[in-house]
């Protein structure tokens, strides 16, 4: 790429950016540019999200009436499994790191790209191949094990394309491992001069903690799924008790990954919150260091609490007690973050832009999701609500209410950076409010009906539970419309959106110092960092004499 020696912007002749540097399908499918790979992920994950959404719609329609009238029991099992497998492994796990992380991480640390661009592209291909494999399993026969693949149900009794689905999840796992590995090395080795660890944006800290989990936890689920596949193939019981195996071993190995995986989903959303809330309060984040450390604390603690999924599995009650206490401990670093954000907003000049609306929605939903998590960490209550809709509501508040709200906030915040154009702001605000309303209408009644005893994973239920399910289905429709709106106005904004400059929000951070959209090499000159992150107060400060 040719660079001019003049630093003056050439207004009449726009320089090529990463979108206009080259054209054609091939230039995208073989790209090594982290920004383009981020866009590829956005398209891929949106596709999987819509597929998973179709399953969700089927579930909600079936549950509108107490009778099992729309789907047979078999078909219903396959529907909720399809929903879970797609949404967990192919949407939520890669959601923020692979899309926003890919696009933003090198920009935020002032680098030209991630450390291993080829590996980065390979990760995307692995996710696509894994996703197509799993989707083919769901379409040809389906899987009826639930997304948890519990053995020996999955290894011996379940029929359908369990093996193919496992292979798909396995491949996607390697996509996740390689992304995490790439990001860890990038953060360690590629930071711009002057960008010390404690000057990093908190989003980078969050991605770092997330990547550590991806690198350390995912190999364990990979080997677990391998053993499960071998057991199913050869009929040897490593998990099947009838053959001398141990089903609890599967649950331990599975949850050793699948609890930390919640933090793979939620930690990057925490990172987004720190960026968005400080920007739209025009204040430095409150308690930078403690928020940074709390990300690491959550990542570390997340590895030693998995047993809270197994209180009724036959694991020792004393072990359950330990897991219960450790789980409650995680509430501490999590609450620190929430209070940090609230304190940041306190006294700031809060601007209710779309990303901020999502961020405030996040705080509300995550508080409910997190507090009900504390209820569930208490063994006695957990036994009561185990396998009920209370659980379903809780993890949707965390995984959808929080992770997807965080993602939407990020998408609306950095969209003008990615494409140099602004989306229709009023419409976006309407969608944000609709998401919040629709989400609560869908999932809050599920806390109630779950507490009253409605079990999950059945397609019929006693008639007295119908009213709650009608609310839920109505809410799901609102939520569906709210998610469809961005699918319309984002593509629209690519062509008709108002053009914006490098920093439309007046935000801090290196990514806002380069053009929108950024050039392929990210920065014309390697940036040198001389100030702390979130130095908002300095500029807005009234001069006092």
């Amino acid at each position: 790429m040719e660079t001019t020696s003049s630093s003056l912007p050439l207004a009449d002749k726009p320089k090529p950016n990463y979108l206009t540097a080259s054209y054609g399908i091939k230039s995208w499918l073989l790209t090594l540019d982290h920004k383009r790979i981020g866009i590829l992920y956005i398209i891929t994950l949106t596709t999987f999200f819509m597929m998973g959404g179709v399953y969700a719609a089927l579930i909600r329609l079936e549950l509108l009436t107490p009778a099992g009238d729309l789907l047979s029991s078999e078909a219903y099992n396959r529907t909720f499994t399809g929903h879970g497998v797609l949404m967990v492994f192919f949407v939520l796990v890669p959601l923020i790191p692979a899309t926003m992380g890919n696009f933003l991480l090198p920009l935020m640390i002032g680098a030209r790209d991630v450390a291993f661009p080829r590996l980065n592209l390979l990760s995307w291909y692995l996710l696509v191949i894994g996703g197509l494999t799993a989707a083919s399993a769901l379409l040809t026969g389906g899987v009826d094990t639930g997304w948890t693949f519990y053995a020996p149900l999955s290894s011996r009794y379940a029929n359908g394309a369990v093996l193919v689905a496992i292979v798909g999840a396995f491949i996607a796992g390697f996509s996740s491992i390689l992304t995490g590995l790439n990001f860890v090395i990038t953060i360690h080795k590629m930071r711009a001069p002057g960008l010390t660890w404690f000057r990093l944006p908190l989003m980078v800290w969050a991605i770092y903690a997330t990547s550590l989990i991806q690198v350390l936890a995912t190999p364990v689920v990979a080997i677990t799924l391998t053993l499960l596949a071998l057991e199913r193939l050869f009929g040897v019981g490593i998990f099947d008790p009838a053959l001398g195996g141990d089903p609890i071993l599967f649950e331990h190995m599975f949850w050793f990954y699948s609890h930390p995986v919640v933090y793979i989903m939620i930690l990057p959303a925490f990172g987004v919150m720190s960026e968005v809330i400080s920007c739209f309060s025009k204040k430095a984040i409150f308690g930078y260091r403690i928020i940074a450390y709390s990300s690491l604390a959550i990542a570390a603690l997340g590895f030693i609490v998995w047993g809270h999924h197994m209180f009724v599995s036959g694991q020792s009650a004393y072990l359950g007690l330990v897991f219960s206490l450790l789980t409650m401990l995680i509430a501490v670093p999590t609450a620190i973050k929430i209070f940090g954000w609230l304190a940041t907003m306190w006294g700031g000049s809060v601007e209710l832009a779309t990303p901020m609306l999502y961020a405030m929605g996040f705080i509300g939903l995550f508080t409910i999701g997190g507090l009900t998590g504390l209820f569930l960490a208490a063994m006695g209550l957990d036994v009561h609500v185990h396998d009920t809709y209370f659980i379903v509501a809780h993890f949707h508040y965390v995984m959808v209410g929080s992770a997807i709200m965080g993602y939407m906030s990020a998408l609306h915040f950095w969209w003008p950076k990615m494409f140099g154009r602004m989306y229709p702001k009023t419409l976006a605000k309407v969608a944000a409010v609709l998401v919040f309303v629709g989400f609560n209408l869908t999932f809050f009644p599920q806390f109630v009906v779950g507490y009253l005893g409605m079990p999950r994973r059945y397609h019929f239920y006693p008639p007295e539970f119908q009213i709650y399910n009608v609310f839920s289905t109505a809410g799901a429709m609102v939520l569906g419309i709210a998610y469809l709106l961005p699918l319309l106005y984002f593509p629209y904004s690519l062509f008709k959106g108002e053009k914006v400059g490098a920093n439309p929000w007046g935000a801090k951070g290196l990514e806002w110092e380069t053009a929108s959209p950024p050039p392929t090499e990210n920065f014309e000159f390697t940036p040198v960092v001389t100030e702390e992150a979130y130095a908002y107060a300095k500029e807005g400060e009234p001069v006092v004499h």
């Binding site: 090198p106 190999p219 009929g235 019981g237 490593i238 190995m253």
Partner: protein, 221 residues
């Protein structure tokens, strides 16, 4: 910022040193994921050996200690030749790098050859888990053949995953040998050779753990 990047430095890096550090850290991080991957297998092994100690001893007695021992020695030799290849890569002596890689490949292939022979032996004796599994060994009256089968399941899973790592390693090694012949490396740039050396030693170390766990149970009695 200088624009005359050395051609061997990828565009995202500032200099060769940064590139080398990133590659090394990346390789170590990858090996950590490998440890966790094998860790899942070793966890399963620990639990079931604890649960069925007799059956695991019985299964272990069906393995050929001499062949396993020979393979251990072969792998240690291959690690030695690989270490020498890295050593001469640092000194820029490409001929010696190439010939020590040939040695590494030869030892690696010998290991895999022995493994094929052993697997074949297990197939002949119906020791492959599945519907055809049989156990009529010296402890047949004392242990449940189902549990011996579990031992063999873990034997095949652990040595199989290890062998896959060997095969992948051999493939990468052949590719590197072509690169050495093409003069791709110099005293200033030999990171791929060094990174491959780390990988190869790691695979070797995994076997050092597998050998006693699988072959040597109960030998002391």
């Amino acid at each position: 910022m200088s624009t005359d990047h050395h051609s061997l430095v990828a565009h995202q890096f500032d200099d060769a040193e940064q590139q080398q550090e990133a590659a090394t850290l990346g390789m170590w991080a990858f090996l950590i994921t490998e440890i966790l991957f094998f860790g899942g297998l070793i966890l399963a092994y620990t639990i079931f050996r604890n649960k069925y100690p007799g059956a695991f001893q019985a299964g272990s007695h069906e393995l050929n200690v001499a062949l396993g021992g020979a393979n251990t020695a072969i792998l240690i030799f291959s690690s030695f030749t690989m270490a020498m290849a890295v050593h001469y890569a640092q000194l820029g002596k490409q001929k010696l790098v190439f010939w020590f890689m040939v040695g590494t490949l030869a030892f690696g292939s010998a290991f895999l050859g022995v493994k094929v022979y052993e697997y074949n032996d297990k197939i002949v004796h119906h020791h492959v888990p599945g519907p055809n599994f049989e156990y009529h060994g010296e402890f047949a009256n004392e242990v449940n053949p189902r549990n011996v089968e579990l031992f063999f399941f873990l034997y095949f899973a652990m040595t199989g995953v290890h062998a896959v790592h060997m095969i992948v390693g051999a493939g990468v090694l052949i590719w590197l040998m072509f690169k050495v012949r093409a003069g791709a490396f110099s005293q200033a740039y030999y990171a791929p050779v060094e990174m491959f050396g780390l990988y190869w030693h790691f695979v070797d170390i995994v076997w050092i753990f597998l050998y006693p766990l699988l072959y040597l149970i109960g030998r002391h009695t």
